[in-house]
Symmetry: C2
Subunit: 155 residues, 2 copies
DNA sequence: CAGTATCCCAAGCGATACTG
DNA sequence: CAGTATCGCTTGGGATACTG
């Protein structure tokens, strides 16, 4: 099989990157997942322009990653919040992987940590082979085409 | 502690996204990790403009993610290859996480798979708490500031 | 409070031509 | 083969003002 014939654009990485692969989206998801959920809070914390934030939130809602919900707590004015959908919550490993790499290679001390809600201990991503082997992480993994791979049309 | 006071820009996610968070870089790393390592091969497979590819490769080398190596196999003209550094190899979990999410939510059938070199079985990322709890993945993880977090200067 | 509406700039990108 | 050099377009993004 010729690797070079596999359509690069239909790869899951490419598709996922189309949704979360811009300068702000991952940071929005980080903030939402940590409890910053209102438009003005996000705007202030991220330092993002309001129109851009609006566009990003709209796209994330359209892609089913976030959901926009009206909140009405008693004694306060009602307001909107953006919350993770299940699909959005499943993006967490992406954030964890970036945190792990950034902590290890770009900082002396970790600026953020990921912790288990229950016990408060740190959470790591352990690459595990379905045959049960734990992978230590040095060139043991290879990315190969799956059943959904497409070939590029060529003559 | 006031979450909103933590400097969003010094987060590891933000720093990592500065390096890998553009439209092409993750795809370049995917290709390099799968054995597409020469300039023209990458250019052809990705469909990226040559000047952009040049810029991206240069940045990745500058950031210590890739290394540029001259290759001289006998019988063939010598050429250049880009190979993963150890630092680059540690980005693999990011790719795995994106693949997992994209496969699950953006495709019917997985266009790419990650497999263990030794046994050929699929590799998954299992979020694991250092206390030993395996996490099933529904809202059990929280992102919190670490020791290296900085506060924003405000009056 | 939660956005839209404008305006403008800069970066990213694609296409193409050229070079050691 | 492995890039660099230009050019021009298009998008992302910042700043600001405005609205229900």
């Amino acid at each position: 099989m010729n690797w070079a014939d596999l359509d690069s654009g239909h790869c899951s990485i490419a598709r996922a990157a189309d949704i979360v692969g811009d300068r702000w989206t991952l940071l929005i998801l980080r903030d939402v997942s940590r409890g910053i959920r209102r438009f003005d809070e996000l705007s202030a914390h991220l330092g993002i322009a309001r129109n851009i934030l609006s566009a990003r939130l709209g796209a994330l809602v359209a892609n089913g990653v976030l959901e926009r919900m009206p909140y009405a707590e008693e004694g306060r004015r009602p307001h909107q919040e953006y919350v993770m959908t299940p699909r959005g919550a499943e993006l967490l490993p992406v954030l964890l992987a970036l945190i792990a790499w950034g902590d290890r290679h770009l900082s002396e001390e970790p600026p953020v940590r990921a912790v288990h809600n229950g016990c408060g201990h740190e959470v790591r991503l352990v690459p595990t082979c379905t045959a049960g082997h734990a992978l230590t992480g040095g060139g043991e993994v290879q990315i190969v085409p799956g059943p959904g791979a497409r070939r590029v049309d060529r003559e």
